[in-house]
Subunit: 463 residues, 2 copies
């Protein structure tokens, strides 16, 4: 499937300079799939944008010619969010990785979309600041904002949308918008910033992002709690949240996840249902939080509560958690996975996890259960080898999503809709989904921006 | 100016029942102006909606007939946000004041729009919970959400938009949308919730609102700090925020404000530039915060730092602050006021306040300066008596807003655009303002919802 003619490719090379437009096979391959790996579909070319002007030129050209444009950050997404389903231009923004303005006095930073979040945090730490949302993977800020990612610290600090103050966005027609302000509060007109956050590259391309930052806490303390049964762990989660503890992170891992992590990282964590906890604040506050957390965990049958004080020990622990996805992939060689991403109100969390576990068992499938428990968000890695297993995996996924919606939750807590969650959108949003599509058509009437994501491509629009 | 014929009024009475449709002169008068009082313009009738169905019926009818509909909560706004500039129906939602579902286990509550925020908080306190945004006035939740209000506790807890999980909205054509979910995080499609929050009744009418709640902190401690000069107070604000102190409230009052409050509430606060501070948390944390705050204030010349421990003493203090608006009005009998509402990045706060003070002086106008300093948001009450003073007040207001925009801020931190801030929208938002209008036209093609707010009414649309 090709969306672009030779003449169009030649025109694009002329427009941008040939060094920014690549048809190199290996680069097309790298940009043909994201970390999730569900779908493989190469673009016709990769354009490496180096400035806002490049982005404007690409969009104007492609809008006139009806060529799909799919923005690309680091490809660490899991729902094929930046995969060029219908060919066209993969607009790689990784070269736009400048920190444009760091304003420690305002707790703010302005970056280009290609800045990688942990590199940003490395630079911010010198100023005693950090950007809390941390999806685990080495994602770019542009991708994180486009997906409204959340990650492990959102239970205390909230997801990305709480941190975006200002956006510079290039629309499908090449128009450049600036939305939001640098004030900490504003009631000035419609909130376009939050319309673009989480729009997965279907409404516009970010070229500049101003983020709110947070001061690094003086103390960080982590803890690992092991439980004899998953139910004790999930009940403890509910009580920890209800006690108003506000941990910086509250992560659940089932025994399979712990086993995979142990094997991948050479650790010796007990292979039991486990909570990872992290507390941040000043010294006495953190000590008191850990004490209360231990008491709640023990009240729910926790058999081992290991408190890990200090940033270094904490970092080792979280590195293991960060690599859970890769650990599970390594434990299932040759297999692919559907990764669920539902989130439910916290009181429904134990019921939801138990339902997921039961469904896996019912269909005879294995797979890790882990997640950002403090936000009622968790993932099941449903691994499959052949087509038969894939069909079962899809059935389990579907059952889990429908259950989450029934419990007042969402199909996707942080991975975005991409391709895989489209089928659940009418059920989750009802009439609102139609209005989302009308907004899409308003901003991108030719349908060039990331076609086939968030909404199915209409038959008459397919290239 | 009348938008409705007798026949239309009669049809509306038939549709809803005559007891819900009022043309009583005194009720029209009550609904002709808001607390700000800048503009007085009565609707043709007031409709008291008692259910979602009533709202749907009113909107369907008015959309078909081209009659303006202006949603009304408690009328405590300051920018004529709910004033029926072009007549039509004032849709009073105060009777829709049921708490539909309280879910303490999820820190969530679902309310109808007419619930008054402090009555909600009274009920929530029995469950150890509260809804932080507090605009001071006895506003309804519907109005608070429609304006994205913030108030005195937003510096720690954030403005309303951080608390709205789910909305039921009736669109201009009577269609009922449900947006959002009860999950604490979601990346599922476009964020319509935040498009409606702060849309000031121009995109739809809320009939149900699900809010996130916060646990009541165990300790509350307040402090009053007096300074010899405004500049010391504003510099202290910047340092308090930069120290990462995160007070629950951080309010600035100039000597005029303190004088007005003293007179209004029979208090004896020193009539000097003053900061009100509030800290919430556990005991040792709060004590440490107060100690550090005192040290920062004293480092900026604070001559008197009075710490007020406990909820009752704190409540007296905040009651005074809450009544600052009424106190200043009482001190300026027979006058009206333009109330500025700019917000700037925190590092620009001293420069901004000093600029405002200088402008008042330059034009020979008096008026209190007070505000939610911790968020870089403050108000100047520019009182005027005659037309000449009014023109001067407008000039001062305009200078202040333009300065705030120049400093990276916003024309309105929490009062909304209403009528008075419309003229600054093109300057603040540039091309984005055009896209806001396109969204307005998408959702309300006949322009019946709160016409003349956020956007000027186009000449060819005026009734």
């Amino acid at each position: 499937m090709r969306a672009m003619t030779e003449a169009q490719l030649e025109a694009l090379r002329k427009l941008l300079g040939p060094e920014k437009v690549s048809q190199n096979e290996s680069e097309l391959k790298v940009h043909a799939r994201d970390e999730g790996g569900q779908i493989e579909s190469p673009p016709d070319c990769v354009v490496y944008a180096e400035s806002r002007d490049d982005v404007v030129k690409v969009l104007q050209f492609c809008n006139d010619e009806g060529i799909p444009v799919v923005p690309w950050g680091a490809g660490t997404s899991l729902e094929a969010n930046p995969v060029a389903l219908y060919g066209g231009v993969c607009l790689d923004l990784s070269r736009m990785n400048a920190i444009k303005a760091l304003r420690p006095e305002d707790f703010q930073v302005t970056v280009e979309p290609g800045v990688v979040h942990y590199e940003l945090n490395k630079k911010l730490s010198k100023h005693g600041l950090f950007f809390p949302p941390d999806p685990g993977a080495p994602a770019t800020i542009g991708g994180i904002v486009a997906n409204n990612a959340a990650g492990i610290q959102a239970v205390k600090y909230g997801s990305v949308k709480h941190y975006v103050l200002q956006l510079e966005v290039v629309l499908a027609n090449g128009e450049v918008l600036r939305c939001g302000s640098r004030a900490m509060r504003s009631s000035s007109g419609y909130d376009l910033v939050h319309l673009f956050v989480g729009s997965e590259g279907t409404l516009g391309v970010f070229t500049e992002i101003t983020l709110k930052l947070v001061g690094l806490p003086p103390e960080v303390s982590a803890a690992v709690a092991s439980f004899p049964a998953l139910e004790g762990a999930t009940r403890a989660v509910v009580e920890l949240v209800q006690a108003g503890l506000s941990p910086a992170a509250l992560e659940l891992m089932d025994p399979i996840t712990v086993r995979d992590i142990n094997a991948f990282k050479g650790l010796t964590l007990p292979e039991a249902p486990t909570l990872f906890l992290e507390f941040r604040g000043n010294g006495p506050e953190v000590a008191e939080d850990v004490r209360l957390a231990r008491s709640i965990c023990e009240g729910n049958g926790c058999t081992r509560f290991e408190s890990v004080v200090g940033r270094e020990a904490r970092d080792r622990l979280w590195e293991a958690r960060h690599h859970a996805y890769y650990a599970s992939a390594a434990a299932n060689p040759g297999k692919r996975a559907i990764i669920t991403d539902v989130a439910v109100p916290i009181s429904k969390f134990p019921e939801m996890v138990e339902f997921a576990r039961g469904k896996l068992e019912e269909f005879g499938l294995g797979g890790p259960i882990l997640g950002h428990a403090g936000d009622g968000n968790f993932h099941v890695g449903i691994f499959y080898g052949d087509e038969q297993e894939r069909a079962k995996a899809q059935a389990v996924n579907e059952a889990i999503v429908l259950k989450a919606l029934e419990l007042g939750g969402t199909a996707t807590g942080e991975h975005g809709v991409g391709v895989g969650k489209i089928k659940f959108m009418p059920r989750e949003h009802g009439a609102s989904y139609g209005w989302m599509r009308r907004i899409k058509e308003l901003f991108d009437p030719n349908g060039i921006l990331n076609p086939g994501k968030v909404f199915p491509l209409e038959a008459d629009r397919a290239p």
